[in-house]
């Protein structure tokens, strides 16, 4: 469990302080326009940029007091795509940052529809395939380094994990994230650009705008058309009767 007590950042990019809780077993989505501070927030949650105001607590202990290696067994980060200099094999890359059982690696590759690529060079993969490999690596780090005494599955932070995926793979990935959240009692935090994806799969949504978290709560309440149209400066059409009766947002032609 990660709690924020008026945590914020002062320097550019700044982040206005706010309270918040991320609970095990839930899928939290962070949404907002370009430059709203989503990635900055994620690096603060991960501890890469320590909060300059307020405090973050992971499992009741201040985030800055966690030793860096111990922290790695409680939270993992899947950043936006970084260029890879060398041609790792898919399996080697998934194992970076942990020392997993062979069965776990095989299971994760299978979960993300990567088994047929296990021995391929990462440089030969498409953008979407590489993105799924990085998600598998993050999950592998959390699951294999999890201590036997841990009460929950830790914190998985993902920065736009669906940006290069086709719709079928988007669905598979979001379903898989939900499965991990429930099955391993993992807290999954996912920066998403597709609001309908957030509306369909997230338990809760944090809405970011100009370095502030301006709203949070259930997706269908936070993602209401008038707010969204306003902060994104977009003309929207609201379609009632989406999946599970949830409304859908579409761009007006």
């Amino acid at each position: 469990m990660l709690t924020l007590h008026q945590a914020g950042l002062l320097n550019t990019p700044a982040l206005a302080p706010f309270d918040g809780t991320i609970r095990p077993g839930e899928l939290l989505s962070i949404v907002g326009p370009n430059g709203a501070g989503k990635s900055t927030l994620l690096s603060m949650l991960s501890g890469f940029r320590p909060s300059e105001q307020g405090e973050l607590h992971l499992d009741g202990k201040p985030l800055r007091e966690w030793p860096i290696t111990e922290l790695a067994s409680r939270r993992a980060l899947v950043a936006q795509q970084e260029p890879l200099g060398f041609d790792w094999q898919v399996t080697e890359l998934v194992c970076l940052g942990s020392n997993p059982e062979q069965a776990l690696v095989a299971e994760l590759l299978d979960d993300l529809d990567l088994s047929h690529l296990a021995n391929r060079s990462v440089l030969s993969l498409s953008g979407g395939e590489r993105q799924r490999v990085m998600v598998a690596r993050g999950a592998c780090q959390l699951l294999s380094r999890r201590s036997p005494t841990a009460r929950d599955g830790g914190l998985l932070l993902l920065d736009e994990p669906t940006s290069a995926l086709d719709i079928g793979q988007q669905q598979r990935l979001m379903r898989q994230l939900r499965t991990w959240a429930v099955q391993h009692r993992m807290a999954v935090v996912c920066v998403l650009h597709d609001l309908n994806l957030a509306g369909t799969y997230a338990d809760r949504v944090w809405l970011m705008h100009q370095g502030q978290r301006i709203d949070h709560g259930l997706p269908h309440l936070v993602l209401n058309p008038s707010t969204i149209a306003d902060i994104y400066s977009a003309e929207l059409q609201h379609i009632e009767g989406g999946p599970q009766g949830k409304p859908l947002l579409a761009l007006a032609p």
Partner: protein, 346 residues
């Protein structure tokens, strides 16, 4: 149904792992090369003659005082240049990086040139002064580069700054060297250019002993960083989340490389292409995992330098080709070939 997945290259589950096989193979090759180097040269000495005491006094003298320190120096210098090349490439996440990038070699070179031109003594004093100057030059570049890296903290900006600082130092040292060459006498100029081409000629026990103590220390520091270098390949934010203290890793690699390479350059001049070529070729063969790549590069570098130096001693015997010239002549074209093949396959 979970399909079976083969294990990563560097963690084979065979009783004799891939790493063991590769490293023992390279060690064996290095021992064979040392045996060849020990027995061939301007003065051929058979090891049996040495051991049984049948060799004449001059041969024994030559072998113990010149040949043996030279072979050992070749081993540690080759290992250091190639090992630090592998580490630099990992640090910059760029397969074309090498220790000269940081400006260490040229910094050392500038100081040696200064010594030769401004304070030239004679005999042994001159030689030691030259070593000390080279060592000092590399060390001061290390301090500059280290200070910059520290001020920048983490982040990819720091790597960029390091690269640019290296470029600036290289340019500055090149210009300084040019100026010195301009005011140098003919004799000094000859000495400068011979040192600049790189050779193991200056190997005496007194100086080799220094290298035999300090270089293994630097090698050990690099070897200890292998799995952290692997993590760094994920990018700095992800690596941090996976438990890597990137600033500490950078400091350790910069210090180890500065120490080791600074000493190498001071002792032998600039021996080109080992730091670039050996790790690059080995990575094509073994994959990018540093736990195997680093020790294999060190062994491969030692092997290549011992072979190249033996060739340099014997090809034009009794005259000697500077070994740096030889490695550059061999390495340059091969490297271009690799690049061409690479660009064609992309």
């Amino acid at each position: 149904m979970i399909p079976s997945v083969s294990y990563p290259r560097y963690r084979s589950v065979l009783p004799l792992s891939r790493s063991t096989r590769v490293l023992s193979g390279l060690t064996l090759a290095l021992l064979i090369a040392l045996g060849w180097g020990a027995t061939t040269g301007a003065l051929g000495v058979s090891p049996w003659a040495l051991l049984s005491g049948e060799a004449n006094a001059l041969s024994v003298q030559v072998w113990w005082q010149l040949r043996l320190p030279r072979l050992l120096l070749g081993v540690v210098v080759g290992a250091m240049l190639a090992g630090s090349g592998a580490a630099m490439q990992g640090l910059f996440r760029n397969p074309l990086a090498d220790p000269t990038l940081l400006g260490l070699a040229s910094g050392a070179g500038l100081f040696v040139a200064l010594w030769i031109v401004l304070f030239q003594g004679s005999g042994a004093a001159s030689l030691y002064g030259q070593f000390a100057a080279g060592f000092l030059g590399a060390l001061s570049v290390c301090v500059i580069v280290f200070g910059l890296a520290k001020r920048q903290g983490g982040g990819s900006a720091a790597v960029m700054t390091l690269l640019l600082a290296g470029l600036a130092i290289n340019t500055l040292a090149g210009a300084g060297g040019g100026l010195l060459a301009f005011i140098a006498s003919d004799e000094q100029l000859r000495q400068l250019s011979l040192w600049g081409m790189g050779s193991l000629t200056n190997s005496l026990w007194s100086t080799t002993a220094l290298a035999l103590v300090l270089i293994p220390l630097a090698l050990w520091m690099l070897l200890r960083s292998a799995s952290e270098l692997d993590l760094l390949q994920l990018g700095e934010t992800t690596a941090h989340a996976a438990g890597l203290d990137a600033p500490r890793l950078k400091r350790r690699i910069v210090v180890a490389t500065s120490l080791g390479v600074g000493l190498c350059v001071a002792l032998t001049g600039v021996i080109g292409f080992l730091g670039l070529l050996v790790p690059h070729c080995l990575r094509l063969w073994l994959g990018p995992g540093h736990r195997l790549l680093l020790p294999a590069s060190m062994l491969g570098g030692a092997l290549l330098l011992v072979v190249a130096d033996t060739l340099a001693r014997t090809l034009g015997a009794p005259a000697e080709i500077p070994v740096g010239l030889l490695t550059s002549l061999l390495g340059g074209p091969y490297f271009l070939y690799l690049l061409m093949r690479r660009s064609r396959s992309c």
